[in-house]
Symmetry: C2
Subunit: 277 residues, 2 copies
Amino acid sequence: MTSPKVERTVFIVSDSTGITAETFSHSVLSQFEEVKFEAIRLPFIDSTEKADAVARRINRCSLETGQPPLVFSTLVSPDSVELIRQSDCVFLDLFGTFVVPIEQALGMKSSHSVGRSHTGSSSKQYSQRIDAINFTLAHDDGQFIHGLEEADVILVGVSRCGKTPTSLYLAMQYAVKAANFPLIPEDFERSCLPTALLPYRRKLFGLSIDPDRLSEVRNERRPNSEYASLRQCRYEVAEAERLMRIEGIPWLSTTTKSIEEISTKVLDEIGLDRRTF
Amino acid sequence: MTSPKVERTVFIVSDSTGITAETFSHSVLSQFEEVKFEAIRLPFIDSTEKADAVARRINRCSLETGQPPLVFSTLVSPDSVELIRQSDCVFLDLFGTFVVPIEQALGMKSSHSVGRSHTGSSSKQYSQRIDAINFTLAHDDGQFIHGLEEADVILVGVSRCGKTPTSLYLAMQYAVKAANFPLIPEDFERSCLPTALLPYRRKLFGLSIDPDRLSEVRNERRPNSEYASLRQCRYEVAEAERLMRIEGIPWLSTTTKSIEEISTKVLDEIGLDRRTF
């Protein structure tokens, strides 16, 4: 990678957390590799007073850096939007740009209510999410085999192939009760799945990983151990993949994938993408 | 809540995970409370063949439901975009709409590369994220007091006030090493913070909760226990808040907030919002 040449300030402005605007800006700005962006997130801008302060901060930034910053906004209030729009910036109005065509398509007005995108702590969805997180924590790394009948999915794979972060992401973002269970040398010697998993064959989903990458990851944890050796990693990965093939467990390689990508593939494959609005 | 009257199908189409388009659609559609949206996420649409199949699926949906579905797209490929745009839908082109003004502002073309928004498993950012998740898991609920000097933040509060999901969210989404530590009746009797925390006073951030809500949450776990009684919850919350005030620990109430809102407030208050692109 060559070092970036241009710097540019980005403001993320929202009346709520700013997570939507942040996710979006991250996605679209990743298309400009030559620029180094410095992002300033300004959440909870829920009054015109606060919006006015943001506008002044944007103007200062423009003066100091000599170029107008990019502003990604999910502000809902028209008054606040106008204050920011008139500041010295490249204004990217995520909410306003799309709400009008959607209003036309649906034949109704939006409620224009502020800070609605997250589900507060008293709803059913919230409880489901917390239940899933608790379930996943209790069923991480095969530590607890009771209650597996409640699992939506059970991830299996060799130690350090990405099971834990994927399980937690599924629980946190999709309220999926995701257990995970390691496949260990003892299983390979018996050439058989862990006994505790046999009743739940249809809930299993495998993660695998390139042995070289696995060896790197394990070496960070336990440098120069037998556990981290390339020989051992090759053996475990080959055996785990063989076992998954024999047992007919669907699986994917995590080697070059982000936690988001792995989780999306898992949801896709098990048909669990059930988020509703 | 009155039951929703209108139903509408929403497609989320992306060449990558679709998480950006999903987050965005969720945010903007939450402004239309009278409509029940059914979302179909179609990730990894990374060829014109797949885009063509999506266009046909959209047309079928339009025929079957009698109304054109809403389509939120973060597709980058112009050919794929055209295929979907020409199908029978309300096309909301997140990427295309904003990339042009950004190109103009930056005076350069975007790379138009597909599936770039997530950080794959070989980068430094990825390792930091995994390290944070592992740290947070090891330091959940005060179970491990060694290594607290590495924590970016230590959340404190009574049992079941939201510390664990907030810690995990901070680790997962922001690579923040977030430990958490319960405040228990023993601490209140001594009128003193847990001894293990004394060296890290400046890293502490408190979560509190309305006693009625706490009692509800605890009753789900341990129905009709002393632990879940309103009397006990009132006592613990009052004492925890008193302790936090005496010790000068900043804190907030989680009662009506989502995990995202709590996490954003914590980042904001501790000045740890350091995400860079």
